[in-house]
Subunit: 368 residues, 2 copies
């Protein structure tokens, strides 16, 4: 379903349904932590807070990021390896813009976060989906899939874990095997780790320690702390690569919004830790309950469930299913946005409060 | 002077000078209008205000922009012709990314806003400076300069008026002649009008009415209302072009920061009008006084003075002059950032309060 057709379905559903369940967006029902909101930032306390920030990020925020990265990854991360960006989207845009030349190919582990293919195309690169989750079942299989997709023009491998849309974690041995291929093929690794704080069974395993010299990791305050509208995130990568990344960041956004950086600085403390603890518990519970209602595996991480509805499609195909769901007020993201998945849908279980989510999921379960 | 060398000069000056005059940045000393600051936006009044905004912009803000554009340009602007962007930088980034293919040439009227050349290069286009202000002296001369620079690969003409760095207004008859060339050569026109509210002698004349079918105009809340750190601006252009522009905006920033859009909506009213009236008067006064001290023409618009210091350079060239100025605490932007201007400097007269500006300008005058 092309984007414009889907947008018009969304509009129709909002115009006609008595209750709408916006499961198609990736967002949270929770307001950000108290003390870390825009209303908490005063000009009296922060004179000049509506002026440009330094293009690399506010020094205080960069320091906190360095500290966190050291603690979480064990790497001796330096300030020159960090760039504060307009969300992880701005970060990955700057990474791709800085390191991918026109015609270069980027391998994208599929199913993938929909924007990454468009980011690669925005800079005239070639996005090459490599089906992984659901398509291979071992580290060796993962490595083979990556290697088979490499050509002379391949310059990078994009991987997203915890994974949007599947809710799966890429197993540590798969990741190690894939990094080995990237190393032998001399590829950049673009690691999208925006759901690092939302892993429900284990701890997130960071990608950069496997090959810090070639890995650029994207992180997000949006997903971690429920402030996607602030457009603040960051990229951590090798010092030699960062000037190229920073250059494109400067020329597409200039600097990350100053107030958003101030809230980010505040949220990287006790208030934010508490918020994440509450959110993680609530997300895990509603994710598990939704999965149970739908008869699918509970999510290992992220805020999504991913379902193959092939057995439910009639001659109208996926569009017909999405239309039928729309009539129930249910908005689901169509599989083709995430790669070659003509019969899948994605459901975000954190866009609206749990009781609303579960009411909508029960309706969906009745359709299945 | 390469950027890295200049950055290190800036650092040294801040470390050693007793008083620093940051005339090299384009910003304002004024805080934004009361009622239109981040502290004025509460979650109670705007639930969900830290979540994503619609990618085209908040509907209320888009409506205000449409209304203003209609009033100011006389064109029947529609919502489909407007895109809210991460400042004018984000807007021009999206415009170039959406409409310029690798290898395409963009003519850039020089002296130019430094980022535009980098924006074109970020999307693998070719930036072709066309010296205009100070280089030609008639509409015919302007048209000839543009025509002479056209090749088979030329796709667009970038023009900035009121002009950064020169403080000049491109005369109406020059603009009309340049638009005629762009029309006969079938070029896009990228009109950077971020200083539209800061014209000191006359009214700003908008570019789009001359050729709305091919003109994309960039506007900024940053410059108009002293909120550059919010990263909010907008682009207005022909409806057929906007989906391409929006696509790149989505893939480099996703949506313009939600809180910044809410402040933009507030500031497009009486509070903002009053602020501009105060700022314009203050900017005009300090600009005139600074020009007088330096013995140059007063600015016609924008917030800059532009000076050729060729007669003051010794064997160390412009770098030596910038170093000497730095020893006095004076930071000036080097001419080569604005095109082929090896002996010019730019001075922003609004970065610090007028009394500070004039104290620094007096020091600079003593050097000249």
């Amino acid at each position: 379903m092309p984007g414009s057709v889907y947008s018009s379905l969304v509009k129709r559903v909002y115009a006609s349904a008595s209750e709408v369940f916006p499961f198609h967006v990736g967002d949270t029902w929770m307001e950000p932590a108290a003390g870390c909101r825009m209303e908490d930032l005063s000009v009296a306390e922060h004179p000049g807070m509506h002026r440009y920030a330094p293009v690399a990020g506010l020094p205080g925020l960069v320091d906190r990021i360095v500290e966190r990265q050291r603690a979480r990854t064990g790497l001796a991360v330096e300030r020159s390896e960090v760039l504060v960006t307009a969300g992880a989207t701005g970060g990955l845009g700057a990474v791709v813009g800085g390191l991918v030349a026109p015609g270069d190919e980027v391998l994208i582990c599929a199913p993938y976060w929909p924007l990454i293919a468009g980011i690669v195309r925005s800079f005239s690169g070639v996005a090459v989906p490599v089906p992984l989750i659901g398509a291979v079942d071992s580290a060796q299989g993962a490595a083979q899939a990556i290697r088979a997709a490499c050509t002379e023009r391949t310059v990078a491998l994009y991987v997203n874990t915890p994974n949007n849309p599947t809710g799966r974690i890429i197993p540590a041995d798969w990741m190690a095997a894939m990094v080995d291929v990237a190393t032998s093929e001399q590829l950049w690794i673009f690691a999208d780790e925006v759901y690092e704080d939302y892993v429900y069974a284990a701890e997130h395993r960071y990608v950069r320690p496997l090959a810090p010299e070639r890995t650029l990791a994207a992180h997000s305050f949006s997903k971690a702390y429920g402030m996607a509208g602030n457009r603040a995130g960051y990229v951590v990568g090798p010092a030699q690569a960062m000037p190229h990344v920073r250059k494109v960041g400067v020329h597409t956004v200039y600097s990350t919004p100053t107030a958003s950086q101030l809230t980010a600085e505040r949220v990287m403390g006790a208030a934010g830790d508490d918020w994440i603890a509450v959110a993680r518990k609530a997300y895990a519970e509603v994710g598990r309950a939704a999965a149970e209602l739908l008869g699918v595996e509970p999510p290992e991480g992220s805020t999504f469930l991913w379902m193959d509805v092939a057995h439910l499609l009639d001659e109208r195909g996926l569009n017909g299913f999405l239309e039928d769901a729309g009539e129930q007020g249910l908005l689901l993201a169509p599989g083709p946005s995430f790669g070659p998945y003509p019969t899948h849908v994605r459901l975000c279980f954190t866009a609206v409060p749990p009781e609303v989510t579960l009411r909508g999921v029960a309706r969906l379960a009745a359709m299945l």
